[in-house]
Structure formats: C-alpha cells, structure tokens
C-alpha cells in the first residue's frame, strides 16, 4: 500500500508539473529543471543524514562524477540519454562505495572532514587530466529533443520533463526504501549502534549502503544538472555547491523527502531573487553575487538555533500533533554522542 500511495503522490506531482511546464515560459521551465536536478541530490543527502545519521559535506563531488560521466559518454559514445544517466548514477555509486568503506569507520567530525576534503580535492582532477576532462573550461553537454515531439517543441520544456521524471522516480524509490526493512535498519543503526548490532544488523554494511545510495542520487543530480546547464565544468562543483546541498537538506528538514523539495527551491530561487533585489537597489555586483552566500550562512545558523527540524518539521507541527516520525531524525542525531561519552564507553 505504501508503494501505491507514493506512486499516487508522484503521479499527482507529475500532473501538476506537466501543467506548469506547458503554461510557463522557457526560463521558468529551465528553473524547474534545475530544481528537479537539485531535488535528486538533496533527497539522497537528506536520507543519508536523517536516516543513517552520517554527515557528508562532499556530495558535490559525487555530483561532479555524475556530470563528467554524462558529458564523456554523450561526447564520445553518443549513448541514449537513459543509459547515460544510469551510467552517471552508477559511477557515482561506485565512488560512494569506496568512500563509504572508509566513512563507515569514521565518527561525526572525522567523517565530515573526510568528505569535506573530497569536495575540495576532486575538482582538481579536471585540471590534472585537462585533455580528457577539458580543464577549467569543462566539457559541453548537448542533448536534442526527440523527433516525435516535433521541431517546434521548446527544448527547455523537454529538459524540465526529463529532470522532473528522474527526480520523481528518485523520490519514489527513496520513500519506499525509507519505509522498508533497510530504512528501519538505518534508523536502528543511527539510534544505537550497539543495540542494532546485537539485533543482528551489520552496522558497517548498512552505513556503507546509505553512503552508496546518497552518492548515487548525487550522481544522478549531477548528470541532470550538467544536462540542464549544458556543461560539466569544475567551477560548477565547488565546495559552495556541497555546502548548498547541506543547507537545502537542513532547511527542508533532515530525513524529509518533501523537505528536500523546499530546500531545492530555495537553492535555485534565493540567488536569483537576491540578485534581482540587489540590482534594483543599484548595489554593486560584488554585493549582489555574495548576498546569497551570506544568506545561506545566516539561514544555516538561525535554523539550527531556532528551528532544528526545518521547514517540513515546522509544517508538520502546524498541521497536527507531533508524531514520532516527525521528531525521530533529531532524537537520532544524538546518537553521535559527545566524544567524552564515547571514551567512557571505551574504557568501561
């Protein structure tokens, strides 16, 4: 029944998006496509942090992997688009597995730091292998609208359709995974590793699986984003992107898939909005381009101090009594107990 409900919700979403993309102009379609690309990546991250209790500041790097695989396959092998996206997702998943093996041994600050390093280090590969990866210029990503849509069909609407379809499928899969045995195991591992282990769960394996899935989602998001922006370049996958993903997941509410949509909307519309306001008030370009960054910072701090369960948590609180599901992700984060507690456990 859960599957039917999720699919029903997704179909409803698809219908709304269909109407929106047909009614709105090319620029809005482009923005919808961008939001959808971010939704895929943010949803994976929110599942990783909210359900399995691991933090990654490096998911931008997995997006870069997805984007570059997409660009290379389209450029050299001209694979069909579905196959390209699948390959991009798979490549990021493999990378996520490698990092996950290391990550599963690491606790909070160590894990966050290792993924941070990944986000900083990976884009430098594009420079090192500039003959294949195009250096700072990046690689072009061009797709064509399929002939059955007719020659006058707006390409941005096609982009929006592809991205929304991919994002919706990702959301359905993640929603089901969260409700499945695997999702329950993640939450058990997150809440108490020792108890989960005694109950027969393989803690390390579950954590690595969560990492692989979040990396795969990020890879798909990166592949979509590269397609939307028609380019895969190192400048698009900086540390700022990784921090933006984290911001989106947190603003939306950790562990909440609907929240990942709120977060992605903010990720796309806040910079544009800030830029418009800044230009209309005649502020210089250095101010307008940095306002969104400063706002991310303020928002991250304020959300953590005032509403630690994010937008979706606030909506849930408004709509009804607090359910265990709504509060769970946050109780759970206490699992990463202060190091002093860990030491106590270690010595007894």
């Amino acid at each position: 029944m859960t599957l039917a409900r999720h699919v029903g919700l997704a179909l409803l979403g698809a219908a709304v998006l269909f109407v929106l993309t047909v009614k709105l102009g090319p620029f809005r379609d482009f923005q919808i496509a961008e939001v959808a690309a971010y939704v895929a990546a943010v949803a994976g991250l929110t599942v990783l942090i909210g359900h399995s209790g691991q933090v990654s500041i490096g998911n931008g790097a997995f997006m870069a992997i997805g984007a570059y695989v997409t660009a290379l396959l389209l450029l050299h092998l001209q694979w069909p688009l579905e196959a390209v996206f699948a390959a991009g997702t798979a490549a990021a998943a493999v990378a996520g597995g490698i990092v996950g093996v290391a990550a599963a041994r690491l606790r909070g600050p160590y894990l966050a730091g290792a993924t941070l390093m990944l986000a900083v280090a990976l884009p430098s590969l594009a420079d090192k292998y500039s003959s294949t990866l195009g250096g700072d210029q990046g690689l072009p990503v061009t797709i064509t609208t399929p002939p059955w849509l007719g020659v006058t069909f707006p390409p941005t609407r096609w982009l929006a359709w592809i991205c929304c379809a991919a994002a919706l499928i990702t959301l359905i899969l993640l929603a089901n995974l969260g409700r499945s045995r695997i999702g329950r195991s993640w939450r058990a591992v997150r809440d108490n590793e020792v108890a989960a282990s005694l109950a027969g769960l393989h803690v390390g394996r579950m954590q690595i699986l969560a990492f692989v899935i979040s990396a795969a989602c990020a890879g798909l998001g990166g592949a979509l984003l590269a397609t939307v922006q028609a380019i895969a370049s190192p400048g698009a996958f900086t540390l700022t992107l990784s921090i933006g993903l984290l911001t989106a997941a947190i603003i939306g509410g950790l562990g909440s898939l609907i929240g990942s949509i709120w977060g992605s909307l903010i990720l796309v519309f806040l910079p544009t909005y800030a830029q418009n306001v800044a230009t209309s008030h005649g502020l210089s370009s250095s101010i307008s381009s940095n306002i969104p960054i400063a706002i991310y910072g303020v928002v991250l701090i304020l959300v953590m101090l005032l509403f630690p369960s994010g937008i979706q948590g606030a909506i849930r609180r408004l709509l009804g009594p607090v359910t265990p599901a709504a509060t769970a992700p946050f109780n759970a984060l206490r699992r990463q107990a202060p190091a002093s507690e860990h030491q106590k456990e270690g010595t007894t």
């Binding site: 290391a102 606790r107 730091g113 390093m117 430098s124 282990s197 390390g204 984290l246 250095s286 910072g297």
Partner: protein
C-alpha cells in the same frame, strides 16, 4: 639532492602553517568538543582586516597586531553568540552552525572586498636564501613564519602548563562538570579557548596569505589541510597537531614538487583516508574507537 633539500625545507615551512591551523582546531575541540569549520573563514576575515589597516597606514606590523587582536575578539564573540546555544545539543548542530559561520564570513568578506585576488605583503624578504651556492628553497619570510608559529605554540604550551588560567583550561577540557564544581567558571574558560584559537588562526592567516593571495575563499584549501593535520594528530594533542602539520607539509611538498602541484589536495585526501583507516582516531590519541 638539491631539489630534495628545497622540497624538504619548503615543506617544513608550509607545514608550520598547517600546524597553526591544526593547533587552533585542537584548542577548540579539547574545550568544547566542536570542530570549528569556520576557522579558515575567521582567519581569512582577520587577514582582510590586516589588509585594510596596512592599506591605510602602510605599517605592516600594525596590521599584524590588529589582525591578532581581531582574531581574539572574533573568536570570543562567536563563542558567546552562536556557539554557546549549541554546545550541549547534538554535535550535528554545532557542525552545521560552524559551516554556516564559514559561509557567512565568506559572503560578508565578498560583499565588502569583492572577489578579486589581492596580494598581501610578506613580513620579510621572500627571495631564496643560500648557503654558498646551494639554494635552500626557503626565504627569510619562511623562517619568520616557522619561527612565529613555533613561538606561538611554545607560549601556548607554557600558558597551559605553568599558569592558573592554563590549569582552568585543562580542567574544563578534562571534565567540565567537575571543573565547575571546583569553582572554575567553565563558560568563561570556553570563551577564552575560542579567543585563543581565533588568535592562532589569525596568525596562520597573515603568515600564509602572501603565498596564496587574499580572496574570500583563500583559506579553504589551507583549512582543509590544517584540519587533516589535526586529524592525523588525533584532534586531542597539541604536539600531535604540530607533528601532523609538519608531516603533511613534507608529503604535500614532495607530491607537489615531484608529481605536479594540482595533485596536492588529492594527496592530502589520500593521507587523511589512510591514517583514519589505520587509526580511526588519529596517530596521537589514546585508543578510544567505536565498538561496532
């Protein structure tokens, strides 16, 4: 052989910078169990303050002093305003608040100073020193850098070891509740820890910036390597952070020198992963790892 000597000395000089960042992270970690991701951002910001002072007065040492003082103040203010409320919350919250601070500082610096690369003056000459005809690969300024960090580290060690303030700092880090019961004002001590970390970070910022240019993200890569140094050292031990910094300085210097400079960050990542795989809590920490 000549090359090897240059890379070694250059690596040690740069390693002292990583050591300084690592030291500031360890100071905060020991006191509050928080990893301060905004440390690089704070150092960048205080260096911009120094830049402004130097631009207006033309006096390098005035800028140097102002940067250190503003690091001290910035650290204390941040601890009092945004860190205090998350100190006893899940560690995730503190991680996110410090990342928020990093982004905020970079955004504000970008708004005030713009994104262009600015050159920052070194304290002393940067032309290479020689013994006879052998170039050493380091300059007077590198010697000053290494010396300044070393002096700061020794002063810090003396503060911790021989003064009553240091005793309070150590007591609060060891067990905040017991320290509080014994009359230590733990809140003030934590603020002091953050202030000192801000000062050390500011020092690292001024010392490294002549080599990297100054822009809102200028400290990102340095911070990440400093963090790596701290983790290699185990996050607990000041000595470990200096050793970790020097080790990392050497390895990145050899990697950059022999294999190409674009690989430095990747080598840092490789070392970090390697050390954490072998000893998940760092090289210099008592073995307290996870149970399952």
């Amino acid at each position: 052989m000549q090359e090897f000597l240059e890379f070694t000395l250059g690596g040690l000089a740069f390693g002292m910078i990583y050591a300084a960042i690592a030291l500031s992270l360890v100071l905060i970690w020991r006191g509050t169990r928080i990893l301060n991701y905004s440390q690089g951002g704070m150092a960048m910001f205080t260096t911009f303050v120094a830049y402004t002072v130097i631009q207006h007065t033309g006096n390098y040492w005035l800028g140097f002093a102002v940067a250190l003082v503003s690091g001290l103040i910035l650290g204390a203010v941040i601890e009092r305003t945004v860190i205090r409320p998350v100190e006893n919350k899940p560690p995730m919250n503190a991680v996110i608040v410090t990342i928020g601070l990093l982004v905020l500082l970079e955004g504000v610096a970008g708004m005030i100073y713009g994104g262009q690369f600015k050159s920052f003056p070194p304290a002393f000459s940067v032309s290479g020193l020689k013994i006879g005809n052998t170039a050493l690969g380091i300059s007077q300024n590198d010697l000053f850098t290494a010396g300044a960090v070393l002096v700061a580290a020794l002063l810090l060690a003396a503060l911790f070891q021989f003064t009553s303030v240091g005793l309070r700092l150590r007591a609060s880090a060891f067990n905040a509740n017991v320290a509080q019961l014994l009359g230590v004002r733990v809140g003030r001590v934590l603020t002091l820890g953050w202030a000192l970390a801000g000062l050390i970070g500011a020092l690292a910022g001024i010392l490294v910036t002549p080599q990297t240019f100054l822009y809102p993200n200028s400290m990102d890569a340095i911070f990440v390597l400093g963090f790596t140094a701290a983790v290699i050292g185990g996050l607990e031990s000041p000595v470990g952070s200096v050793v970790g910094g020097l080790l990392l300085g050497l390895v990145t210097s050899y990697a950059g020198g022999y294999l190409g400079s674009s690989l430095v960050d990747l080598f840092g990542l490789a070392i970090l992963i390697l050390v954490l795989m072998v000893r998940p809590a760092g090289l210099f920490s008592p073995s307290a790892t996870r149970q399952v």
